[in-house]
């Protein structure tokens, strides 16, 4: 009951267009429809068209539709485009730590449209559940569409039929027939035609009175192979969400500093940072740089450590050196999939202030040097025999607070202010000094001590991007398979030529999925060689 019976007696599944056994166009013969069916899937019934009783069948049939697939792709394209109209949340250029801040940003910056954008959740589009669902739906559609077509196609192509029915041959766009003289040796003609096409690289299937020559069948698998590539690619993207597969961090490291890389057991030390500039004699032509310079390379000499004591964050690290060497732009330091890229720098930053303590009462005698490390201030230092300097207070980014007390704006040493106490042990006196913005304020009018400024320590702070992406090989592999499939489908064609003798009548038909010109050339030269009296009736427009 779920079958279509062909005249030849073969029972075909519902949806079959060309009889599986003899090749008669079923709709043409049985239903009386005029046009010859599409050869796309060799006239086989696509599996989804067979039954649709259970829910499973219905879901399957839904996703097996190319129209549905195109629908999903269009929705994804439109959504992706909308996601670029306003910046996504992670690219908001101002700090917006809480949800109301984020909402305010969109409203204040983009007005009513911004509010709508935020309300609809478009500010987090690419990680939203519905966008992700659409991506998976696309993957599902890829898998099911492919399976639904590739299985019957494989079955049809793997048993090529030499004896296709006459109406099959007649229905082909590329067709010709002729009457031969009764004494023609048809078996010899089959042999000659086979030999001619074999030379052209065709695979020959034949019997005494008929032949089918086929070439480039594998190109029919191209689209399926490129879909497999796409599915692998999508899997790779999905894998990034598995813990340990993907990391994207950024660390600032001062020269001499060792910092932990977040979410990893690794530490990185910036031994030294260096920017190299092109020398004038290295340049191919003279440029008027107006005193400027062109950077040749940004380089951090770094050491990568593994913390053996990483189980308890914050505890004293037990560092083992793993790797050391330069990190230059585009040449990251790599270790087990972790890559450290040179991506930023803050040069000539204040690292430490240098002074000389001067005793005014002793004829401006230099007592000794004082170093104030802005990142690691020691509370007390011995300046000379019997003279100590204590740091009473330190404001790295000084500002006068609203309450009239000194305060700091950030924890970065942008405008350091120190309150110092000089303690002289010999006469048991102490005196307070304040350093602020390049000047010294003394506690008393006739103070004994003052500070002489020396060149401060300037350091470079290097910005390193830390990346790990274990899914990359899979993504590349998927892309490679995709390209293989595309090449197979694009650069080769599946060509077939049928030659049949029915008594004194000869019939020739050809089919290809593209490049009809090539097929005509090959068939034409064969006809010429074998001297068949056939003129081809060309119904193709190609």
């Amino acid at each position: 009951m779920d079958q279509i019976k062909c005249k030849c007696g073969h029972a075909n599944p519902v949806g079959t267009m060309l009889c599986e056994s003899c090749g008669r166009p079923l709709e043409l013969e049985i239903k009386g429809e005029a046009s010859f069916p599409d050869m796309r899937y060799e006239g086989m019934a696509r599996r989804s068209q067979t039954y649709s009783r259970t829910i499973i069948d219905r879901i399957w049939n839904y996703f097996s539709s190319v129209k549905v697939a195109i629908g999903i792709i269009v929705i994804l394209l439109v959504a992706s485009a909308i996601g670029t109209v306003f910046p996504q949340q992670q690219y908001i250029p101002v700090p917006a730590p809480t949800e109301p801040d984020v909402a305010r940003f969109y409203t204040d910056t983009y007005g009513k449209l911004g509010t709508i954008y935020y309300t609809l959740g478009f500010h987090n589009m690419y990680s939203s559940w519905w966008f992700v669902t659409l991506l998976v739906a696309l993957g599902t559609s890829l898998v099911i569409c492919s399976l639904d077509r590739v299985v019957p196609l494989y079955k049809a192509l793997s048993k090529p039929r030499v004896n296709q029915h006459k109406s099959f041959l007649k229905g082909q766009k590329f067709y010709g027939e002729a009457e031969l003289s009764p004494e023609t040796d048809t078996a010899a003609l089959v042999e000659a035609a086979s030999a001619a096409l074999r030379k052209r690289g065709y695979r020959i299937f034949r019997n005494d009175q008929a032949m089918m020559a086929e070439k480039g069948r594998f190109s029919r698998w191209g689209p399926y192979i490129n879909h497999i590539g796409l599915i692998i690619f999508l899997l790779g993207v999905l894998l990034r969400n598995v813990p340990g597969f993907y990391l994207d961090e950024f660390v600032w490291v001062r020269e001499g500093q060792t910092v932990a890389i977040p979410d990893t057991p690794y530490y990185v030390k910036n031994v030294q940072y260096h920017t190299e500039y092109w020398k004038e004699e290295e340049m191919a032509q003279e440029l008027d740089l107006k005193g400027g310079a062109i950077v040749k390379s940004y380089q951090t000499d770094a050491i990568l450590y593994l913390n053996k004591n990483a189980d308890l964050p914050g505890s004293t690290p037990d560092l083992v050196e793993i790797k050391s060497g330069p990190i230059v732009v585009n040449h990251p330091m790599e270790h087990e999939g972790l890559a450290l890229y040179q991506t930023g720098v803050q040069e000539m930053q204040l690292g430490a202030l240098n002074f000389v303590l001067v005793d005014k009462k002793a004829g401006n005698k230099e007592v000794g040097p004082i170093k104030l490390d802005l990142y690691n201030v020691s509370a007390e230092q011995q300046v000379a025999e019997g003279v100590k300097v204590r740091v009473l207070d330190y404001f790295p980014d000084f500002v006068m607070g609203k309450d009239g007390k000194p305060a700091t704006q950030t924890n970065l040493p942008k405008n350091p202010m120190f309150a110092l106490e000089v303690v002289s042990e010999e006469d048991n006196t102490s005196e307070k000094l304040v350093y602020l913005s390049g000047s010294v304020i003394t506690g008393k009018e006739d103070s004994r001590y003052t500070l002489d400024f020396k060149m401060p320590d300037l350091i470079d702070i290097s910005g390193l991007m830390v990346r790990k992406d274990k899914a990359v090989p899979l993504i590349y592999f998927g892309s490679f398979i995709f390209m293989v499939g595309v090449a197979m489908g694009f650069f080769w064609q599946h060509r077939r030529i049928w030659l049949q003798f029915h008594g004194t009548r000869v019939m020739l038909a050809g089919h290809t999925n593209k490049n009809w010109y090539g097929l005509k050339q090959e068939a034409g030269s064969m006809i010429e060689q074998v001297k068949l009296p056939i003129t081809i009736e060309d119904k193709s427009k190609a």
Binding site: T50, P97, W129, T133, L135, L312, V391
Partner: protein
């Protein structure tokens, strides 16, 4: 064609695809699997105190812990310091601990500050901001209320006043 077999194959394929969907949607909801969340255990850590000796969070199991991230440059942090101190004094005998995690400042900055405010609860020095990153701190002050089992009961972003602290402390005090 074997209809039964085909249904099984379809069910299997759809099952795999459904699993992929569930995974994809789940990970899109849980963007940061390491983020500190209410109801989960507070990530353990160890830090040196301002006065030198190291402190480990898990040492305070059995006590209610207020974990407060702060910096001397942060005005609202300054404002809530005395309130935290008062609550600490009021409840420390009932099993409350206040841990003030200072974000990346040097002791010479922090010490005068704590003296000025008369802080007696432990001040932990997160020199490299490691714990700050571990707890994904963005705005400060940020305060975590951790119960005696080490689970996060509440996370509060922004300045707290004394009444709010009292109310939240009641939830984490050991019974």
């Amino acid at each position: 064609m074997d209809k039964k077999n085909r249904t099984y194959i379809r069910v299997a394929i759809l099952g795999v695809l459904l699993a992929a969907l569930v995974f994809a949607v789940y990970t899109s909801f849980v963007k940061d699997p390491n983020a500190v969340k209410v109801g989960r255990e507070a990530p353990n850590f160890s830090l040196e105190q301002l006065n030198g000796s190291a402190v480990t969070l898990s040492d305070y199991r059995g006590k209610g812990v207020i974990l407060n991230f702060w910096g001397t440059w942060c005005e609202p942090c300054k404002k809530e310091m005395p309130d935290l101190q008062r609550q600490y004094e009021a409840y420390k005998d009932k099993g409350l601990v206040v841990l003030g995690v200072n974000i990346g400042e040097s002791p010479v900055t922090v010490e005068p500050f704590t003296k000025q405010f008369g802080i007696t609860f432990p001040i932990l020095m997160d020199k490299q901001s490691e714990i700050t990153k571990l707890y994904r701190i963005v705005p400060i002050p940020s305060t975590f209320f951790i119960d005696p089992d080490g689970k996060v009961k509440e996370i509060f972003l922004g300045p707290l006043n004394e009444d709010m602290i009292t109310e939240k402390v009641a939830k984490i005090l050991p019974k």
